[in-house]
């Protein structure tokens, strides 16, 4: 999605693709507008226009920011309504972090050179990622989010080096390695729920994991 942002000296118009520009955080969720009914899109832009007019008068853009964020959540939920669950699993975490073995995982399709890339049309498999994998051997295969960030710095999606930092400083007892990487685009999640998810959970348990953080994309 591109918006006209400014006029140059010779009436040149500079366009920025706000969807792919991560600095425009509120806009990144609006990619789902392309799947929204026309009347709702019209309503969205009418409301946005009025809010912008008011913000220009007052200099306070917080209402615009809030509107974009709320609309982004609403639009995304309608387009890709997630599966709902009736219960909430939770295991108590009673140990000190400094005495715990923790894992950091991601659903950003990170894999290691030599492994089979994820299927970008939907894939419930996983990849083992040793935390000492050289940066030049890490790869990403995903077409449903802007991968420029992870290509530049894997820790923006899988904070493996930040976790190793915390281990080195004694803030966590041990950073679990290898960690596990999944794909975030899984139109049919049955295999994840019935096979690969439980499989990875079993491996993590066998490895003595006390807790895990998953960065979702």
């Amino acid at each position: 999605m591109a918006f006209i942002l400014k006029l140059g000296e010779f009436m040149a118009i500079e366009k920025l693709d706000l969807i792919k520009n991560p600095e425009t955080a509120p806009f990144s969720k609006l990619q789902y507008l392309k799947w929204t009914p026309e009347d709702e899109v019209t309503e969205f832009f009418n409301r946005l226009f009025h809010l912008n007019v008011a913000a220009r008068e007052t200099g306070d853009w917080s209402d615009v920011d809030r509107f974009l964020e709320e609309q982004g959540d609403s639009i995304a939920a309608k387009v890709a309504a997630p599966i709902a669950f009736d219960d909430t699993p939770r295991s108590p975490f009673k140990k000190r972090l400094s005495e715990s073995k923790v894992a950091v995982m991601a659903t950003g399709d990170v894999y290691v050179e030599g492994q089979i890339p994820f299927d970008t049309d939907g894939d419930w498999s996983y990849r083992e990622i040793p935390l000492d994998t050289p940066l030049d051997q890490l790869r990403v295969a995903h077409t449903h989010y802007d991968t420029n960030g992870v290509a530049e710095d894997v820790d923006s999606v899988l904070a493996m080096h930040r976790l190793l930092d915390m281990e080195a400083e004694g803030m966590v007892g041990e950073a679990l390695t290898p960690t596990y990487s999944f794909m975030g685009y899984i139109p049919d999640p049955s295999g994840l729920m019935e096979v690969t998810g439980p499989e990875v959970a079993g491996r993590l348990t066998e490895d003595g994991m006390d807790g895990a953080v998953i960065g979702t994309t």
Binding site: P22, E23, A84, T88, G149, V157, L163, D165, A168
Partner: protein
């Protein structure tokens, strides 16, 4: 994660919602301070969440936050070694 609504619907055990662009759940590339703050908050929530399904929305701004200052304040004068 990015969407609070989605976290609530999925009934995650514990959820941290941040106003970060989609595709950068731990923060900006090349910003280790931001990544560290997010990871610390998520790991802290393992033990501090009071109820199953607790979701916290963090107030951090994408570009305008001083994450180095946050780490310095947390770790008593050192920016956590970063």
């Amino acid at each position: 994660m990015v969407h609070r609504t989605r976290a609530e619907t999925l009934s995650v055990p514990r959820g941290l919602v941040l106003r970060l662009p989609f595709g950068r759940p731990f923060g900006a590339p090349g910003n280790p301070e931001q990544q560290r703050v997010v990871l610390e908050d998520a790991l802290t929530m393992l033990g501090s969440a009071r109820e199953p399904g607790e979701i916290r929305t963090m107030p951090y701004r994408w570009r305008r936050e001083d994450y180095g200052r946050i780490l310095t304040e947390r770790h008593g004068g050192t920016s956590a070694g970063i």
